[in-house]
């Protein structure tokens, strides 16, 4: 496994994680896609070896079909999930004109409740 691939996987994971932590759903979707690809590259680079098509009855050095099947499945699933998330983002946008992930109403209520026994004040952005 070449060092370039290791660096690539690391960079993909890092940028994917960074994008996942954003408030905007569009960025989160990009983050999800990048992270999924980081895993795909990782599996292909450590699990698969090059060779002939693995068909029973033939001779020769076969490639291992399992990681390729795994990655292929993951790509298809990733495609479906990205489409679904985009639909969610679109729906959110048609409802309130932005695609930010909002705070939970009930969490806001609990956070803004009067503290018992004179507890500390709640941070302003929750109120």
């Amino acid at each position: 496994m070449s060092a370039a691939l290791i660096v690539l996987i690391g960079v993909l994971f890092a940028s994917g994680t960074f994008l996942l932590l954003q408030r905007s759903l569009t960025r989160i979707i990009l983050g999800v896609g990048i992270m999924a690809n980081a895993v795909n590259v990782l599996i292909l680079s450590i699990g698969a070896r090059a060779g002939e098509a693995p068909i029973i009855g033939r001779d020769g050095e076969f490639t291992d079909p399992v990681p390729q099947a795994l990655v292929l499945t993951a790509i298809v699933i990733g495609f479906g999930i990205t489409a679904f998330l985009l639909a969610l983002a679109w729906r959110g946008w048609t409802i309130d004109g932005n695609d930010d992930v909002e705070d939970d109403d009930e969490d806001k209520r609990v956070a803004s409740a009067k503290p018992l026994l004179g507890g500390t004040e709640v941070p302003g952005d929750y109120q």
């Binding site: 992270m35 999930i81 679904f84 959110g92």
Partner: protein, 493 residues
Amino acid sequence: MNIALALPIAAPLLGAALSMLVKQLFIQRIISFVALGISLASSIVVVAKVVTDNDILVTRLGGWPAQIAITLVADRFAALMLIVSISIMALVLIYSIGQQASDEHSTAYHPVYLVLAAGLAQAFLAGDLFNLFVAFEMMLMASYVLLTLEGTNKQIRSGVTYVVLNVVESTILLLGIGLVFAATGTVSMAELPERLAALPDGVQMGLNLLLLVAFGIKAAVFPLYFWLPDSYPSAPSSMTAVFAGLLTKVGVYTIIRTETLLFPGGQSTLLIVVAGFTMIVGVVGAISHTQMKRVLSFHIVSQIGYMILGVGLGTQAALAATVFFVLHQIPVKTSIFLVEGIIEKETGSSAFDDIDGLAKRSGLLAVFFMLPALSLAGLPPFSGFVAKLGILRAGFDNGSYVITAVAIFGSLLTLISMIKIWMGLFWGEVRPTPPAGRVGIMRHHKIMSTTSITLVGVTLAIAVLAGPLYDYSVQAAEQLLNPMQYVKAVLGS
């Protein structure tokens, strides 16, 4: 090849495909019931075979040799989970038709519901990690759609959290499976125990943790639980009931498989500590909320703690108690969410601030809330008592006094939160005032009430039949603790 093992997966999938072709709701309902009926019938056959042969059932799809074929495996634990979850899926389908919610009238509902059933069945029967990953994805995709089917602002908001978190979980799971494959050259759960044991300790621990984190997110254990109380309450009650009863338990099921088959190591301090926090944090969250669905959603987390405790202790008695706990938990949790659904259907809310005096309006509803509620809290003579007693005894026998005390304390807090629901919704003067001449609640929602009562009846039956069912659990635990039996059954040598 044993067709009974393939049918619980194949029938709902075929049904889903057919259901997508027709748009008439009536035909879709028939397809769903036929598919789930076939699925249920074959899971009964599976359980009967597992019990009478006292062996592990194995099917290699297409008749390929063990190393190539996709293998389906059913031991006692898997068979039990299969039959319980398919029956719950069928019951809740009847309930959701009675609920007349807008989501059931969507043409997407029935196909997706069937895919969820197929995914569940496949997750329990999967004989390799690859297949398990696919099963998880089927299940999750279906749950994404069901959670956001109405497309309201609230559902979109919580749907985003749920989907993104589960996508991250899938990514971690895929990463874990990829690394397991890289380290051992196989994903078959029968070949893995031997090859994993040959790896250096550090590598084993890393792979184990990676899988545990992925399954832990699914099971909602501390500190990976926060998505659950945030997203579940926004789905329609029938869907929350299915998610609450079944989806988290799949996570628990896979954690049990990982810890007994792939990385058998007896007692795990990590899991015991995690279990303690899960129990207490979940129930404290439940007490702090003032809406029934929210309280119950936090409860799911708390109860998961007890199951994880059983896995963490790792003795045969503890695992047997865990198997029984899961068996008791699925119908009880589902039934209490179904009762919540009736309240929400009748009054349009389940917040403590909006509603009072339900007991005055319908004594029957109060009774059928209290039965599963007391069972959840673990009071005798209900099934929850037997399940918790088993876990606590295993804890004492193991000398783990601290965690056992924490478990008892958590149980007490559970009772307090149930009483909080009781005081919040059932006691006091009737509010809001029902339309004039409307007497009772249950009689106006016949289908919903009948299914809820049936399920509560099932939970009572579990308490009555606790003896034989507990014996079954003990034998299931025996199989779980003897991975060689699994390996032999699958590889055939």
